[in-house]
Symmetry: D2
Subunit: 227 residues, 4 copies
């Protein structure tokens, strides 16, 4: 089923030209090498589709450094090798078993629409069959409500941040249901990390899995005053 051709949005064309004349020009040799020798990223980043939280921007990543899977609410489903299409799981398999990444980072963020949708649905009694896909996808984090109650003493259905963080912890737990992933972690070849980024003030918090708590990545400079 075809449709009439549409010109590429002008904003994309402009941004692409800007990229060609600045970053690509500057890094041309690096791109050429990457094309020839293939990618060997060190890290798999699991992030949200949110337009405000692009991993390459927040971490100033260069081409070739990180494999990035992005879905609604940066979730990792539990290991389920059946006949269905499992996009996030396929990305994890590709990263861990083929590219042999050394790190997996689950990067959540503040004001996550998917997490908010889950909370609203739960509070309003809307079930997972609502709509076609989002509610069912977000229902994956129902077990995380119990994780939040345990660690934070906060009812996550009432607290957006607590729910976002509980979901990150659950995603790490779900990563470990992948047997070949857990094996590499036990063997010291793979490390898992949880992060939470606050769009409003640009702060980044790191999960300490021993306690289940998140604390800010220390910036010794604090916020410099304009003299």
């Amino acid at each position: 089923m075809s449709a009439p051709a549409n010109p590429i949005p002008a904003r994309l064309a402009e941004g692409y030209r800007g990229f060609r004349h600045t970053r690509f020009r500057r890094e041309r040799d690096h791109y050429a090498r990457l094309a020839e020798s293939g990618q060997q990223p060190n890290t798999l980043m699991i992030a949200c589709v949110d337009s405000r939280v692009a991993p390459e921007v927040v971490f100033d990543a260069d081409p070739g450094e990180m494999l990035v899977v992005r879905n609604v609410a940066n979730l990792v489903p539990p290991y389920q090798p059946d006949a269905g299409y499992h996009g996030t799981s396929a990305a994890i398999e590709f990263a861990v078993r083929q590219l042999l990444v050394r790190h997996i980072v689950v990067c959540g963020h503040a004001s996550c629409g998917g997490i908010n949708a889950f909370r609203q649905n739960s509070l309003n009694g809307v079930d997972a069959a609502h709509g076609d896909f989002v509610a069912r996808w977000m229902d994956m984090i129902a077990p995380a409500t119990r994780l939040a109650l345990t660690c934070d003493g906060v009812d996550p259905l009432q607290d957006q941040t607590a729910m976002e963080r509980a979901a990150i912890r659950q995603s790490l737990a779900n990563l470990r249901t992948f047997p070949w992933l857990a094996a590499r972690e036990r063997g010291g070849e793979l490390s898992l990390h949880g992060l939470w980024f606050d769009v409003a003030d640009g702060s980044l918090c790191v999960l300490d899995e021993a306690t289940g708590g998140f604390s800010p990545l220390e910036d010794p400079l604090g916020d410099p005053l304009t003299p």
Copy 2:
């Protein structure tokens, strides 16, 4: 199931600090507004997990401009609203029905590992049950081989670029199997686009759906010579 805490990889910490002191500092007000008023991206970008093809970099996108879903080989599965977890479909639903994006761009690229895996498996008779998820995920594009034969006259199993481009065309067709998406497109509220990015030389080709062919986004400057 917990694991010992791991410090965030030094490279990520460094990149984040760089971001805080440069881009975030410069765009602080913009981030604050986005946090407060929410995101209103104009475009949904469907791209690959590949570490060399970050949409925000290639299109010099600003925070708030594009929702980005990334999976292996930038695929769109056919509409299948069952009880399973469908991450890409959930992202599409979120973008189209909630955020009301005006454009969806399927952005493929050269040297795609997922596409290459599909071709190798097909040529070597490896079935979709190989491994846990990747082969099954990539099997989604089996119908695309017929699309390629029709349009290009090339056997896509022998030609990486032809297969990448056929998969882009199929993804656009699969987008149109989502009834509420097709309805918005018919109503003139949504446009679909296919792009293919060549990592080696930074060129970008645009799909003309009328012909099924891809042609370079014209750069009137050509490649300037260094005087």
Copy 3:
């Protein structure tokens, strides 16, 4: 005569750290090579001290590409090899006779404070002895008023842009009073250029020395509309 130590302004420390973690990290090898083999810039840029018109930003220049001299109103004094200290002339000599640049660009701009000061002083009858240095320095462009009248038919003392452009033309003429510079130009080894940048809308105009007029550097894309 010493003074108590002052900490480097916080804003500079922050910006430097940002640079270290982003651009310098990315271009480290290039900086190392430049340190070892020395600089071989292709171009000498003569620009204003103005905080809004940094050549490396406006032309997205990389380290090693352009030698940059910046003074009030991007002026070039006439050739005067006496016993005085002549900073701009020394920079020109260094660029042309030692580094053998192929291009010299005089880059003026809109709303230039130095040019405005000259016009105000002329209109108000303030002589060049006013203050210590600025009025005397700007008095260098008095001959340019006649150039403006010839080319534009406008009284430059009434028209900021006309005066800015006349001063650019005069600076090019003054460059040619340097005998070894004029010789290289005649020999085809050196080209001179005049540019005028409008801070307000980011446009760039190029001098056509044959006519004395400035016209916009053509941007075939025009200003893209947001779809």
Copy 4:
């Protein structure tokens, strides 16, 4: 005296287009405000013409933040309000008396060609009349050799870094020969700073005027290891 028109070098045209489509697009409102309300930079930066040490790059400066004068070897001549053209002095007057900057930074660097020329000339007995301007300009730092011997115990004519740093200290001393500048410093409205940037490793050293010594701007992160 005119010359045939020359097209702007392709590399500059490309860089300008890149700037228009990326940074200018992103900061358009800021540039418009700066054009309308004028500049109010906080800092005057005195830097070298060297193509490897652009202050806006090293300090990630935004438009409007710093006035920048650049000459050979980032020198400040002694106060000499005679009838000659004094470009650097005019820039200092403009910055201090008109724009009321709060900070002046003399930013030197490693492998400075001007400093090296001075040392070679001194060692080889070439007098300041050699060439037209550079040798005479650099002769300004002859008194600095005595400063170096006092502070570092090193013969600066034998040591490039010692000479570069001695010249920075002398430039600060020369700044204080400007009476209206010294008055503002005594009144607490102006601070002076000396910096030295090493192109090879990107390090930045800060002058402690109390001791005359330079020490690295502390980076608490050190050099992060790639995991």
